[in-house]
């Protein structure tokens, strides 16, 4: 193998690829060749660095210089300056928003300072398409170690670590494994749930794209512990890059005998297959997922029996989420004690969050349990975009709730989030500012639930539709205060009576916004006003007579001829005909049109 002096790591996650990441790699390789450095410098396509806001990211090894927002045109400077002359390309360094100083070391950036990367340990560090790079980072050592222990001992280690399911429910992982182990059956299965359906969550995709072997290794460890010899990864078809990297990883693991028969001479057989999702949110629920893998509609069934007892093809099936698996090698290699030393009393270790929305640093972060929302949003996230005011943060996706200012200092863990009316979910975290209307946000999530409800049970199928209609009525300004009571009642009924997790949690966005933003709901029903200025029906476009010079530009652009007025005289908008499209406001050069 060639002995390279320098490595140039280029983020090749979905986000950075969409911003010409691949062109950057090709240009870098061409420049390196041109400068005769082909023998000394290697360009590596890595998984996600997490700092998506500033992508595409390029990192230089060994000196750890971290370049942000790189374009393909920058390749020549990076090579001729950094690699040839040894000078940092200042203009591509990260600028600290507070001190305005350039920062070259990612460890000194606010975004990375408070992070502990366990599940993401290899993302942005190794080439996910090369198994040797994973092995060099102690890859498959945990599997080797597991073989020297009894299955019960491995499971005890995981129970002791306190690891809980990272897909949302938070069920103790070790216990789940133990249940599957104890059931007697001819064939058992290990399933990896990679049907990441929460809009705004992308940690599973990033782990599979950046470190696919960690998932394969953990599935094999699970197989050894539970007695399963077949692994299945259920992944969204919308993730082509992750699928491709998984396929490569499976192939390479088979070639090295890390999957297949008699792995590492242990006498243990295990292999993994990929199954594709087809765009159904409910398939994140484990019974639905299993039905989907069997070729059926992804409808849930009542638990018990739990999949651990009767799952895929009626056999005991251990289902864990991608991030849960990614933590297993760390626990086995570093010890349960180390893992349990991080986090809160009942939530151990770290959690990966996909930080998105109106926050300065959008990206993928991994933080210790027990960190506060304030630290995540303001220290790591860099605060709210465009200097606006923080209003709410939505955690847990369509099943979670909207938290507010008063929740900012609560330590984040499974139980605290639940007690605050939200949930951990898979770790989506969407930040909202003063311009977001909470009724609209609740409506947005309900719209999602209505579309994704599988239709099997009535509370979810019919109830959520009615909830949506009630929210629509509120945002149209046609609801009364009494409707708010009905909204709450129905939401509680759906929660209590739905068959699966989807319906049992779908009213959360409604209930949490009603609890935390009651004034805003009241403004909609009593004053018929939308304080955030989002609900179209409650808005009025008005022309201010003073700045209006009567240029008639708005008259010409109005699709319904709602604007009238003499040339060079102030114009007016007929509120009866106005459809509130906003075209006039976009067109007006004199800022004479405003929303009231």
């Amino acid at each position: 193998m060639a002995n390279y002096k320098n490595h140039v790591l280029v983020c090749s996650g979905t986000g950075c690829r969409a911003s010409q990441g691949e062109e950057i790699v090709l240009n870098l390789e061409a420049e390196i060749e041109k400068n005769g450095l082909g023998e000394e410098v290697q360009v590596v396509r890595t998984g996600c660095f997490g700092f998506c806001e500033k992508g595409p990211v390029v990192k230089m090894i060994p000196d750890n210089t971290f370049y942000v927002q790189v374009t393909p045109e920058d390749a020549s400077d990076l090579v001729s300056e950094h690699l040839v002359k040894g000078r940092q390309v200042e203009r591509l360094l990260f600028t600290d928003p507070e001190t305005k100083e350039k920062v070259a070391d990612s460890k000194k950036m606010g975004f990375y300072k408070k992070q502990i990367r366990l599940a993401l340990r290899n993302c942005g560090f190794i080439n996910p398409e090369n198994i040797h790079e994973y092995i060099a980072r102690d890859g498959y050592a945990a599997l080797g170690k597991a073989f020297t222990m009894k299955p019960e001992e491995v499971i005890q280690e995981i129970i002791d670590s306190g690891l809980r399911g990272r897909g949302g429910g938070g069920f103790p992982t070790g216990l789940k494994w133990d249940i599957t182990r104890k059931v007697q059956a001819e064939q058992k299965y290990v399933v990896c749930n990679a049907d990441e359906g929460d809009p705004g969550a992308f940690m599973d995709r990033s782990i599979l794209e950046g470190d696919p072997h960690s998932v394969l290794e953990s599935m094999a460890i699970n197989g050894y512990c539970t007695g399963a010899t077949k692994g299945l990864i259920y992944i969204r078809a919308e993730y082509p890059l992750a699928i491709n990297r998984l396929k490569i990883a499976i192939e390479q693991a088979r070639e090295l005998g890390l999957l297949g028969t008699d792995i590492l001479g242990s006498g243990f057989d295990f292999d993994v297959e990929i199954r594709y999702g087809a765009g159904a949110f409910v398939c994140g629920e484990e019974t639905s997922l299993i039905h989907s893998m069997e070729g059926h509609r992804g409808e849930p069934t009542v638990k018990p029996p739990f999949p651990s007892e009767s799952g895929y093809k009626g056999m005991p099936t251990n289902v864990n989420n991608v991030e849960t698996y990614a933590n297993i090698p760390v626990i086995l290699l570093e010890g349960a004690k180390y893992f349990a030393s991080i986090g809160t009393e009942k939530s151990k270790g770290t959690k990966v969050f996909a930080l998105a929305g109106k926050v300065n640093n959008v990206g993928l972060i991994e933080v210790p349990m027990g960190i506060t929302l304030r630290e995540v949003i303001f220290d790591i996230g860099g605060g709210i975009k465009d200097g606006k005011k923080f209003k709410s943060v939505q955690t847990g996706g369509p099943s979670g709730g909207c938290l507010t200012e008063k929740h900012l200092d609560i330590p984040i863990d499974y139980d605290n989030l639940l007690a605050s009316g939200s949930m951990m979910g898979s770790g989506g975290m969407i930040v909202m500012d003063e311009d977001d209307c909470m009724v609209s946000v609740a409506k947005f999530y309900l719209d999602f639930t209505v579309e994704e409800s599988c239709g099997k049970c009535a509370p979810c199928r019919i109830g959520n539709k009615r909830l949506y209609e009630m929210l629509d009525k509120i945002s149209e300004g046609k609801a009364t205060e009494a409707d708010l009571g009905r909204l709450r009642n129905l939401a509680n009924v759906i929660k209590d009576t739905s068959l699966c997790g989807l319906g049992q949690t779908s009213p959360n966005p409604v209930l949490s916004t009603m609890d935390n933003f009651r004034d805003e709901y009241l403004a909609h029903v009593k004053d018929k006003k939308c304080p955030a200025g989002q609900c179209k029906s409650l808005l009025q476009y008005v022309i201010d007579a003073e700045p209006c010079i009567g240029c008639t530009a708005c008259v010409r652009v109005c699709p319904v001829d709602a604007i009238s007025g003499e040339k060079k005289q102030p114009h007016t908008i007929n509120q009866e005909t106005c459809i509130k499209c906003g075209a006039c406001m976009d067109k007006c050069k004199f800022k004479a049109i405003s929303i009231q």
Binding site: P199, R205, E238, E294, A354, Q394, D436, C454
Partner: protein
């Protein structure tokens, strides 16, 4: 429903897929994925072939096809446009972008233009939230799209 004639080569290709999966009904979703790649969409005629190839009822195939949003029974446009309506994109103004595409193309979400050139659909999170709002045209991903950019994007495809 007007009968359509399927390309004989493609039909053979699909039948071969059913053989590859051992006529196993449990592989239905995998087979439908392959069928959609071959034909571009899953009209009733294709579903019949799949049902026969896997020894399952046509109703079962139809039930699965209509359950999953990834499967479509109408052909997509030559340039399928998808606007991400995940939460991150939504709060950064994806709805306005979607409206602008529909306005300029004269379509409704889920429709294809009469000339078959463009189809507009919304999708749930491509996981590139750092680039919100995100639009994909075919395989190409556009990040941080504003309503004002829509005209330019369409122009790239000769609209």
């Amino acid at each position: 429903m007007a009968d359509i004639t399927l390309d004989a080569d493609k039909v053979e290709e699909l039948k071969a897929v059913c053989v590859k999966f051992n006529h196993d009904g449990g592989e239905l979703i995998n087979v439908l994925h392959a069928a959609q790649i071959i034909f571009g969409y899953l009209p009733a005629e294709v579903q019949v072939i799949v049902a026969e190839g896997l020894n399952v009822s046509i109703a079962h195939v139809y039930g699965v096809v209509t359950f999953y949003s990834f499967f479509t029974m109408t052909p997509k446009g030559e340039h399928p446009i998808s606007i991400c309506m995940g939460t991150a994109c939504y709060v950064r103004g994806a709805e306005k972008v979607l409206d602008e595409f529909n306005k300029l193309l004269g379509t409704k979400t889920g429709e294809t233009t009469p000339d078959g050139k463009f189809s507009v659909s919304s999708l749930r999170c491509v996981g590139a939230c750092g680039l919100a709002p995100v639009v994909t045209v075919g395989e190409k991903v556009y990040g941080r799209v504003a309503a004002a950019d829509v005209k330019g994007i369409l122009a790239e495809y000769g609209a």
